[in-house]
Every structure is written in structure tokens, then in C-alpha cells.
């Protein structure tokens, strides 16, 4: 498999625009899937009118609505931080998407240490939430931001440890090489790590059942309480972009990415399909489980996931040293 080499300045622009196109399409697909899957799981139909066929254009219509809504910055807010926070939440997921390979050749930015880079980029997005919570000068927002900070501290760790275990198994920090080295029996070997990664990723995205920071019955909408219109929509978009990034990452790290029948030719379709399946699982978790309480959240992270991730690390390390 050839390394991707970039030579032309124009190619840089095309690649960046390609990432943007994927970034604007994939989260909407996941969002629409959530509308429909959640509705059918709850015995409803979901959106049916916008666009005609089963409400396919619902999220486009939502976007058109959001852009026409008044943008309110509360008088008490820290104005510039408040207004810039949605961009800080959104752009890191765009950057993370750029380094995730869909196949050995279909990747926008073929970096060497992409596994570490993705973790670093997604961790920056969290700052957007904290900026929003603090700058709103609202008590609900502040409480939500506190909960966010604690939750993200707790779950970043198992996430990083789980990824470290896969890097150890493949002996590389490159997502591309990890997926090339992947063997079907890794499904079993890396299973505890995969579970830790999935749970931590859902918590990292603050999706139910880990949505304590935005618990609507307690603190309205947490850090995003004061947001309206397009800025609010950007936070929602970053949540769905986060699902896309985490799902694709799961597919590449644990499910072999582009490996499958005719993987040589249509590998990128396999990666997208596997990622989509993980996204549906994340949606399913939202429908199936009630919200965890804050102390339960912390106990799960520190007393279950961190030890489990460390145990996985030990299993991986012993496996690598003994059998290779």
C-alpha cells in the first residue's frame, strides 16, 4: 500500500474542502438517522414532511430556521468568549476528521502519529464547552460546565489508555498502520479496550446516558443554556460531528477499518459502513438507558473503566512480548 504524498498547493486546498464536505454531510446523516431510529424505537414516525420522502430534509430545514433566528448575547456574559466558544467546540472535530483514514489512500492528512493527534484534537473541542459555561455568567451554565469538566477529566483517561493498548498491539501510532495490521482475532483480544473506548467516547460526547452536564430536568441545558440561533446550532452540530469522529475512530481502531470483502477496491465504503453501525449503537444507547447520576458517572469512570483499561493494557503487553 502506497503512502500518500502531497505535492501541489492546490491539492492542499482540495483536501481541506473535501474534509469540510464530509464534515457537513456525515453529521447530518447521523442526525437524521437518530431522528428516525429513535422515533421507530419509541413507536413514532419521526419527521415525515420536510423534503417529501420520510422527512429526509428535516435537518436542512432546521439549519435554514436556525440561521434566521435572532442571536442573543446576554448583557452579563463575557462577550467575546461567549461568541467565539461555538467555533472552539466545532473546529477540532473538523481537524480530527482530517487525519482519520477511510482506506490506506483515502485520508486528507496522512500524519504519522495520527492516533495521538486525534486524541489531542478532540480534547481541544471540550474547551468550547467550558468557555461557553463560564462566559455565559449563568448559574445553570456554570453548574453544567463544572459537571462537564469533571466528566471530561474522568473519561479522557480510559479513552487514552484504550487507544494506547491498540497502539501497543500494532506497534505504531499511525491509524493507517493499525488498521493494516488488524486481524479478526483482535476483536477478542482487544474486546475490553473496545468496550472502554465506546463507553468513554459516549461520555466524552456528553450523550445520554452520560448527559448529566446538560441534564434538561435539572439545569436547563447546562453550558448552552444562554445560546440561541446559529451559535446554539453549532454546538449541536459539534455533538453530531463528535459522534462521526468517534464512530469512525472505533471502526479504524477495533473493527479493522477498510478490511472486508473487496477491501482493496472499496475499502472506504467498509470504513464508513462500520462507522455508521457504531453510530447507530451510540443512538441506541441514548434511547435505551436513563441518565446516570453525577456520582455514579465518576465511580464508573475511576473504579470500573480505568482499572479495566489498565488490565487491557497488561493483557496486550503480555500478548505482544510473549507471542511476537
Amino acid at each position: 500500500m502506497n503512502e500518500v504524498v502531497i505535492t501541489q498547493p492546490l491539492e492542499v486546498v482540495l483536501r481541506a474542502v473535501g474534509v469540510l464536505a464530509a464534515f457537513l454531510v456525515l453529521p447530518l446523516l447521523v442526525g437524521q438517522t437518530e431522528h428516525k431510529v429513535m422515533a421507530h424505537m419509541q413507536g413514532r414516525l419521526g419527521p415525515m414532511y420536510a423534503g417529501g420522502f420520510h422527512g429526509w430534509a428535516q435537518l436542512v430545514a432546521d439549519g435554514v430556521k436556525f440561521v434566521q433566528k435572532e442571536d442573543i448575547t446576554p448583557a452579563a456574559a463575557d462577550r467575546s468568549v461567549f461568541r467565539f466558544a461555538p467555533a472552539v467546540a466545532l473546529v477540532p472535530y473538523l481537524v480530527a476528521l482530517a487525519v482519520i483514514p477511510l482506506s490506506p489512500s483515502v485520508v486528507a492528512a496522512p500524519t504519522n502519529a495520527s492516533a495521538v493527534f486525534v486524541l489531542a484534537a478532540t480534547a481541544v473541542g471540550i474547551l468550547g464547552t467550558l468557555m461557553a459555561g463560564w462566559a455565559s455568567a449563568n448559574k445553570y451554565s456554570l453548574l453544567g460546565a463544572m459537571r462537564s469538566a469533571a466528566q471530561l477529566l474522568a473519561y479522557e483517561l480510559p479513552l487514552v489508555l484504550a487507544v494506547a493498548s491498540v497502539c501497543l498491539a500494532a506497534g505504531t501510532l499511525s491509524l493507517r498502520v493499525i488498521a493494516l495490521d488488524w486481524q479478526p482475532w483482535w476483536l477478542l483480544w482487544q474486546l475490553p479496550g473496545a468496550i472502554v473506548f465506546l463507553v468513554a467516547a459516549v461520555a466524552e460526547l456528553q450523550r445520554p446516558p452520560f448527559d448529566m452536564p446538560v441534564a434538561d430536568s435539572e439545569i436547563v441545558f447546562g453550558p448552552y443554556t444562554e445560546y440561541t440561533g446559529l451559535r446554539f446550532a453549532f454546538f449541536l452540530l459539534s455533538e453530531y460531528a463528535g459522534i462521526v469522529v468517534m464512530s469512525l475512530l472505533f471502526a479504524v481502531l477495533y473493527l479493522g477499518g477498510w478490511q472486508g470483502p473487496w477491501g482493496e477496491q472499496v475499502g472506504w465504503i467498509w470504513t464508513l459502513l462500520k462507522g455508521f453501525a457504531v453510530a447507530v449503537l451510540i443512538i441506541w444507547l441514548r434511547v435505551a438507558w436513563p441518565r446516570l447520576r453525577e456520582d455514579q458517572l465518576q465511580r464508573l469512570a475511576w473504579l470500573v473503566l480505568v482499572p479495566m483499561a489498565l488490565a487491557q493494557l497488561a493483557v496486550t503487553a503480555v500478548g505482544v512480548v510473549m507471542f511476537e
Partner: protein, 119 residues
Amino acid sequence: MSPYVVIAAVVVVGLLLFVAAMGARAVLAPRAPTHAKLTTYESGVDPVGVDWAQTQVRYFVYAFLYVIFAVDAVYLFPWALVVRNAHLGAVSLVEIAVFVGVLLVGLVHAGRRGLLRWL
């Protein structure tokens, strides 16, 4: 050309997306601020007290633990690259086990002291 040039371009494109969207909003959205609209939202009643409220920061122990373990995790990544080296393999495994083990003892201690409870 380094792939990081593409990443820089992606950051620029992302910021342009934000600016363009805000530009579209400035053109399309109405603007009619009133005193009530700009007031801090507190479930419909007048805000109590000043803007930023005091609250007890409960997670500082978690923050300490996180910093310790995050530094630990950073050292695991370079180890992943050398563990297959025949000269280092088994020895580095033992060393990392000691390294992580010390931290694990710390985590167990924090748990037993009841520091990992939110309340």
C-alpha cells in the same frame, strides 16, 4: 509537503465556515434586543444575586488524579513503539508494570480513603 500543511488548511477552512455562517446570520436574522431578552436566564424569574455564582468545586481530587495518570499515559505511547525490540521487550514490560503499578496503588488508596465520591 508535510501533511500538517493540510491540517493547517483545515483549521483555516473551519474558521472560514464559522465566519461565513455568522455572516449569513447577520444578513438573515432579525435584531431587536430588549432588556428582558438580554437578562440572564433563570427559569423566568429575575436573576438572584450577581452574574457568577459561587459553587463548591468537587472535582479537584479527580483533577489531580487525572494529571498524574495523563502523564503516565503519555509515556505509554513511545513504549508502544519499542516493546517489540528484542533487547527491550521483556525488561520494558516489567518496568512499565512497576511504573503503572505505583499509580494504581495511588488510585486504590484514593478510592479507599473515599476521595472518589462526588458528595
